[in-house]
């Protein structure tokens, strides 16, 4: 009897391992597949549809992610961007990652986005989201998002907050600390 239970547990463990393995492979595959990779003057920007981007919004590790939705044409976004860059620099050696998700139009990635990244020497990771059927994915980012930018998600595996607003550096760092519980 005892032996039988032991066997069952062993099977369970194996089963769980396989499920986890498949899940992580699927995750890696899903994220590794940009729709298009733009490369100009040494700057590379990966462009994803929402399905491919989604894993970035739900990572389950010990890092806290600060994901900002912006575009080069969006004045309040550009105004707050230095605060995200400053956060990136200040928390570089901690488990905090800033990701800037550009919503620039696809035809403007090479003409506007890449030159902007170069000119401002952006250090945070920039990815491009190309998914014009916005009604299908906006609520998947957050149920309360109206679609106006700038918008920001700060999350880790235990907490998640969404903000449809602009940030000062102080406000941004304060919010980050509520998530990391520092």
């Amino acid at each position: 009897m005892l032996n039988f239970i032991g066997l069952k547990e062993d099977l369970m463990r194996k089963y769980l391992c396989i499920v986890l393995l498949v899940w992580s492979i699927a995750n890696i595959l899903a994220q590794g597949k940009p729709l298009q990779v733009y490369s100009k003057d040494g700057t590379v920007v990966r462009s994803y549809d929402f399905n491919a981007l989604q894993p970035l919004l739900q990572k389950q590790n010990d890092t806290t992610y600060v994901v900002n939705f912006w575009a080069t044409w969006c004045k309040p976004c550009i105004a707050e961007l230095p605060n995200f860059e400053k956060l990136h620099a200040a928390y570089k050696n901690q488990k905090v990652k800033v990701i800037l998700v550009s919503l620039d139009m696809a035809k403007q990635v090479e003409s506007n986005l890449i030159p902007y990244i170069k000119r401002k020497r952006l250090q945070s990771e920039v990815v491009h989201l190309k998914d014009p059927d916005m009604n299908t994915w906006i609520t998947k980012v957050d149920a309360n998002w109206s679609g106006a930018i700038p918008a920001t998600v700060i999350y880790n595996r235990s907490q998640r907050k969404f903000y449809e607003q602009s940030f000062t550096y102080e406000a941004l760092e304060k919010e980050l600390k509520t998530i990391t519980n520092q």
């Binding site: 139009m105 916005m134 679609g147 106006a148 700038p150 449809e164």
Partner: protein, 203 residues
């Protein structure tokens, strides 16, 4: 003792009514009655919904000069007006932005834009940014489809014009057009609310 009771009851009543009078911060939902307004058009004249005696309703669009999404939709907004104003649903465009925050959206530049693009509909300036918060618009473009009824102009659809801002030829769902067609044919609107990325309104 009784006097105090009456006074506190009166105070309570005042407090409650003050809350009740406050407009909901979230704006309109489908089924709500939308406010009329009197806003300045690019020709200098004031425009109100009540001026349109024969209209069956309105395609109210919060839009502006500077926003690339709004620009991408300009031709489609003109097409909507051309198609539906004669059928009783004219487009009423409103610029909700404060020119002090976004100089491209000044009244003078609205005039130029309306003339250059040949707008067939009124392009109104929400002076003091008072109307858009009542509707609950958060970005441009943001559509509120209204139907004229006995109780007022009822909101029937809120959201985007269609499902592809970048490429009109790749559009699969024409949300506003489908909603107006449904109203014209006394049918249920298939999609009553949608979300889209847009430029946040600068108040």
């Amino acid at each position: 003792m009784k006097g105090i009771k009456i006074v506190s009851l009166a105070l309570l009543a005042i407090a409650v009514s003050a809350f009740a009078l406050k407009p909901a911060p979230t704006g309109y939902k489908v089924g709500d009655v939308a406010t009329d307004f009197s806003l300045k058009n690019t020709d200098g004249k004031l425009v109100s919904l009540k001026d349109y005696k024969d209209a069956k309703g309105f395609i109210v669009i919060f839009t502006c000069n500077h926003c690339p999404f709004a620009k991408a939709y300009e031709d489609r907004i003109i097409a909507l007006d051309k198609k539906y104003s004669t059928l009783g649903y004219p487009v009423i465009a409103i610029n909700p932005n404060n020119p002090a925050k976004q100089s491209e959206d000044s009244f003078e530049k609205m005039k130029t834009r309306a003339k250059d693009k040949g707008f067939t509909f009124p392009y109104l300036f929400d002076e003091g940014q008072k109307i858009y918060p009542q509707y609950g618009a958060t970005k441009t473009p943001h559509v509120y489809l209204l139907q004229k009824t006995d109780k007022g102009n009822v909101v029937r659809y809120i959201g985007a014009i269609d499902d592809n801002y970048e490429d009109e030829s790749a559009v699969k769902e024409k949300y506003v057009q489908n909603a107006v067609e449904a109203l014209l044919n006394n049918k249920e609107i298939p999609v009553k609310e949608t979300k889209a990325i847009g430029c946040s309104i600068k108040a």
